[in-house]
Structures are given as structure tokens and as C-alpha cells.
């Protein structure tokens, strides 16, 4: 990056380090931190949407919808989330390709599943084999994002249905006595009040979401874990910047990154909860 970096072998000490940490590969490493932030900021609203839909569905008056919603909220409790992170992207990928295969190549009559192979015609492939590199990256990231949205949607759904249940019953009964329809009760009484009850659970989920982002590595995305492994590995003399195994130090940097992120989030959330509890008839509210 700097002009004196032209010949790395002649450098020493801090000068060497300043060149080393500004190589193009390190720039990709720094960019992958932005990818993590992007994932968090996109996954949070997506999970909110999934969770809201799930908690509404689990209270539906239609039997099938209710069971689907309840099943969605319950599945996360007994099965490790990593199973879902491994399962959902492949399953979604195959589902998309299967649908495109049926639509785009109706003339092919052979089964898609042939023994141990999953064969779709070439125009149904996702992304197309002719697509450029960034399309592949984007597709992989979107699948990962959907997996995050799905899993965290189930968590959020649990928090939200708990919050809905926590709204005082007497208020709902009063609304009913005034002749509100169930829809009106939900929209005017339950919905505005549930957020206060949901806040502790949601802020907890936010911390969990932050700590779940390294799972991107499992989904084959070139994230911070990938680059830490890549850059930290032993570099022999054939490289411009030879060094021994530095992976532990790269992971130490990641630890510090995550600790900072969780620490800052925690202080912001604590402040928010203090602010919201002012004037509330709770212990925290009285203390203020």
C-alpha cells in the first residue's frame, strides 16, 4: 500500500508490520468484518418478521396454521441450532433448483434424485455456471441470511408469544366488554403493549445473534474466521511476508472484536432498558 512496501524483504520492525497489515488480502479480511455487521443488520429485521409471523400463526384460529406456527416455535428447543444452519441452506438450494428444473425444463423426464446424485438441467442451476464470481458470493450470502432469519425467527417468535401472553388479561376483557372485535383487541390493546414485555428477551437475542455470526464459516462464506485461518497459517519463504503459525493471534483479534461488540451492545441495551422503565410500576422503575 505504501510506496516503501515495494521490497518487503528489506523491511524491519514496525515498517514491516505496517506493510504486512495493509496487503490486499488483509484488506479483504477487514472487509469481512463489514460483512459480519451487514449480516447482523439484515438478519435482525428478517428474524423479527419471521418471529412475528410465527407467533401470530401459533395463535391463529385455523387449526393447520396454528399447528404450523406452534411447530415452528417449538422445533428450536430440542434440536441444536447448528443442525438447522447446516440443513437449511442445502435444503433451500435444492428446493429452488428443483422448482426451477420443473418450470424451465419440463421436457426432461428423468428423476432429479438419481441414487446419490441430485441432477437438474443446466439452465435450472443456481447460480448459473456462467454467472460471475460475485453472483455466487451473493447467492451464498442470501442462503446464509435466510438460515439466520429462519432460526432466529423461531427464537424471536418464542419471545414475542411470551410477550403477547404477558399483556394483562383484564385489559383484554375490558376491551371485549366495550365490544372490540378480536382483531381490534389485538391491534389496539395487545400490539402496542407487548413490546415492553418483549424487550428483555429481544435484547438477549441480539447478543446471541452477534455471537452466532461466526457460524457463517460453516456455510462456506469467506468471513472473518476464514480469513483468520487463511492469513494466520504458516507462510514460508516463497511468500512476500513469511511468518510462523500466527492463527492463535488472529483469533485473539476476533475474540477482542466480539468482546467489544457485546460490551458496547450491553451498555446500550442497559441504558435503553433504564430509559424505558422510568415511571413503570416495577422495581427498576421505582429505583429511578
Amino acid at each position: 500500500m505504501f510506496s516503501y512496501c515495494a521490497d518487503p524483504n528489506s523491511l524491519e520492525g514496525l515498517l514491516w508490520l505496517s506493510c504486512y497489515i495493509t496487503t490486499p488480502k488483509h484488506m479483504s479480511f477487514y472487509n469481512s468484518f463489514l460483512v459480519v455487521m451487514l449480516l447482523i443488520s439484515l438478519a435482525a429485521p428478517l428474524a423479527m418478521a419471521f418471529g412475528f409471523a410465527g407467533s401470530i400463526a401459533s395463535r391463529s384460529s385455523i387449526l393447520l396454521v396454528r399447528y404450523l406456527g406452534k411447530g415452528y416455535l417449538a422445533m428450536i428447543r430440542g434440536i441444536p441450532d447448528i443442525v438447522f444452519f447446516l440443513f437449511i441452506p442445502i435444503a433451500l438450494d435444492q428446493a429452488f433448483e428443483y422448482l426451477r428444473h420443473k418450470v424451465l425444463c419440463p421436457e426432461v423426464t428423468e428423476a432429479v434424485r438419481q441414487g446419490n446424485d441430485f441432477v437438474v438441467c443446466s439452465v435450472a442451476k443456481l447460480p448459473l455456471s456462467s454467472a460471475s464470481e460475485w453472483v455466487h458470493d451473493l447467492y451464498g450470502f442470501s442462503l446464509a441470511l435466510l438460515a439466520f432469519g429462519f432460526v432466529f425467527g423461531a427464537f424471536t417468535g418464542n419471545v414475542l408469544s411470551g410477550a403477547i401472553a404477558a399483556v394483562p388479561k383484564s385489559q383484554l376483557e375490558t376491551a371485549e366488554a366495550y365490544g372490540f372485535t378480536p382483531r381490534q383487541i389485538f391491534r389496539r390493546i395487545t400490539l402496542p403493549q407487548m413490546w415492553v414485555y418483549a424487550l428483555p428477551g429481544l435484547s438477549n437475542l441480539w447478543m446471541i445473534l452477534i455471537k452466532a455470526t461466526p457460524l457463517l464459516f460453516l456455510l462456506g462464506i469467506e468471513d472473518i474466521v476464514y480469513w483468520a485461518k487463511e492469513l494466520g497459517g504458516i507462510k514460508t519463504g516463497v511468500y512476500d511476508y513469511p511468518h510462523p503459525d500466527w492463527r492463535a493471534w488472529y483469533f485473539a483479534v476476533l475474540m477482542i472484536f466480539y468482546l467489544t461488540l457485546t460490551y458496547v451492545s450491553q451498555s446500550v441495551l442497559d441504558r435503553l432498558s433504564n430509559r424505558l422503565s422510568i415511571g413503570q410500576a416495577t422495581m427498576a422503575g421505582k429505583a429511578n
Binding site: 435444503a91 446419490n116 446471541i208 492463535a248
Partner: protein, 279 residues
């Protein structure tokens, strides 16, 4: 090949016994069930030992965090913050790479009648290295739970103990500790379940599976890769985990009953599974 044959070939494969090669072609449902079940041995091993050792360490950490003496307080707080504030995933990577660069040493421990050689390279093997990370991690999470419970012990209990002349160790063992356990137990059950779930991370992080001796999800992803069909192996893993989660709840609720047995039925707390906690 019959299913009984498969069971005798693969049921202990994850420990290195039985057939050496994993099934490659014409993978049957039975093979998937047996091999993934065999991998569960590792999940149970990690979960049980980390939880057992973690319990004691967590109790001391909770007391340390509650202590007014900075030499106990500060390290406990720092430890809990570091292990709860960073992802377990990164902790595994960090620990593994750290264990690799420490010098390879052998150490003989004389036990009188026999000599045990302890080597630092064992740390890079999952059975010890990953267990240590899981142990430290669950200790931090459980310590926070225990600390919360310790703060919630009713002050009237302690005053009553004081007036009866209890003090020091006796007061802790007879009055504070049982109440702390009773208050913490529902959350601690949750922690046990999710520690058990977190054991699935071991072979996806730094620790390599030696000679394809892996845990349940290691074999599941192997099958998903080989058959290109995720719809069979992953539900099997899910099935096993639900089964063992129910088992954990069963065992912990027996303890919970015992901890609550002196209370009137209305005051007793029931176990309830709450949210999953990814680390």
C-alpha cells in the same frame, strides 16, 4: 448387509472400533442411524464431563464474583465476561491454535505403583482440548446463573442463620448453598441442555476428527455430502438430540423435586424449557 451386521460394524465406529472404512455407496437408512448414533457417544461424553467439572468451578466463580475482596472479584468477573462475551466457535479456534503452538512436552507423573505420561500434544486432540474449552465455557455461563441465584437468596434466611449462630462454612453449606441451588436450578437445567447442544460445534471448529472418529453431526454432514440428500441425516440427528434433551430434563427434574421438597406445593417451581442460547 443386514442391519444387525451394520450395528456390529459401526456402533462403536466413533471410538475407533469396528469397520474402518465409512460406507461410501448405497448408503442405507440403517447405516445412517447406527453411525450417527455412534457419534452421539462423543456428544454425551463432552456434555457429561464438561457439566460435571464445570459445576464445581462455576460455584467458586460465583462466590468469587460475589466476594468483596478484589483478588477474588476481579478475576472472576473477567473470566465470566470473556467466556460469555465471545462466541464459543471462536473460543474453540483460539484454544486449538494456542494448544498447537505451545511446546510439545512430556511429563511423567509418579503415582507410586505406576507412571502416567502426560503430554501437551493431548491438548490438540478433541477429547481433551475441546473438553477443556467446553468446561471453561459452561463454567462461565453457570457461574453467572449461580451468581444471580446467590444474590437472590432471601436476606431473612441469612439473618435467621446468623441468629442461630451459624457462620462461615457451616452457614454456606447448610443455608445459602441449598437455596442458591434451588433458585438456580431451572436456569441451570437450561444451561445443561444448551451445553449439550453446543457439543455439536467441536468437530466443525479447530479440532479435527482423527481417523474420522467424529460426533453425531460430523457423520450427519458426511452422509449429507455423500448422498447429496440433507433430508435424511439431519432429521436423524434431530431425533437423537430431542431424545437426549428429554432425558436431561427428566434427570434434572428429579433433582429439582428434591431441592424443592421442603416447600409447600404452591411455592415449588417447575422446570420449563426456555429459549435456546447459542454461545
Amino acid at each position: 448387509m443386514s442391519c444387525l451386521q451394520t450395528i456390529s460394524d459401526y456402533s462403536l465406529r466413533s471410538l475407533g472400533y469396528g469397520e474402518r472404512l465409512l460406507p461410501k455407496a448405497d448408503i442405507t437408512l440403517c447405516e445412517q442411524f447406527v453411525l450417527i448414533g455412534s457419534g452421539m457417544i462423543w456428544n454425551i461424553y463432552f456434555g457429561m464431563f464438561a457439566l460435571f467439572f464445570g459445576f464445581f468451578f462455576a460455584t467458586s466463580l460465583a462466590l468469587g464474583k460475589n466476594s468483596k475482596f478484589w483478588l477474588f472479584n476481579a478475576p472472576s468477573r473477567a473470566f465470566i465476561f470473556i467466556f460469555r462475551g465471545s462466541p464459543l466457535f471462536i473460543q474453540f479456534f483460539f484454544a486449538y491454535d494456542l494448544f498447537i503452538i505451545i511446546p510439545k512436552l512430556g511429563m511423567d507423573i509418579e503415582l507410586g505403583f505406576l507412571t502416567v505420561t502426560v503430554e501437551t500434544r493431548w491438548l490438540t486432540k478433541a477429547w481433551l482440548g475441546a473438553l477443556i474449552v467446553l468446561f471453561l465455557n459452561t463454567s462461565a455461563y453457570a457461574a453467572e446463573i449461580f451468581y444471580g441465584a446467590l444474590r437472590a437468596v432471601p436476606s431473612r434466611d441469612i439473618e435467621a442463620a446468623d441468629s442461630f449462630g451459624f457462620s462461615g462454612m457451616k452457614k454456606f453449606r447448610r443455608i445459602i448453598w441449598p437455596t442458591m441451588m434451588r433458585l438456580a436450578w431451572p436456569s441451570y437445567t437450561n444451561e445443561a441442555i444448551f451445553l449439550f447442544h453446543a457439543t455439536t460445534l467441536v468437530f466443525f471448529t479447530g479440532f479435527p476428527a482423527w481417523r474420522q472418529k467424529g460426533d453425531a453431526i460430523y457423520y450427519a454432514s458426511y452422509f449429507a455430502e455423500k448422498t447429496f440428500n440433507p433430508f435424511v441425516p439431519y432429521p436423524i440427528v434431530g431425533f437423537y438430540f430431542i431424545l437426549f434433551t428429554l432425558l436431561i430434563i427428566g434427570i434434572f427434574s428429579i433433582v429439582n423435586k428434591r431441592l424443592n421438597r421442603h416447600l409447600a406445593p404452591n411455592d415449588q417451581s417447575n422446570l420449563k424449557i426456555r429459549l435456546n442460547l447459542i454461545r
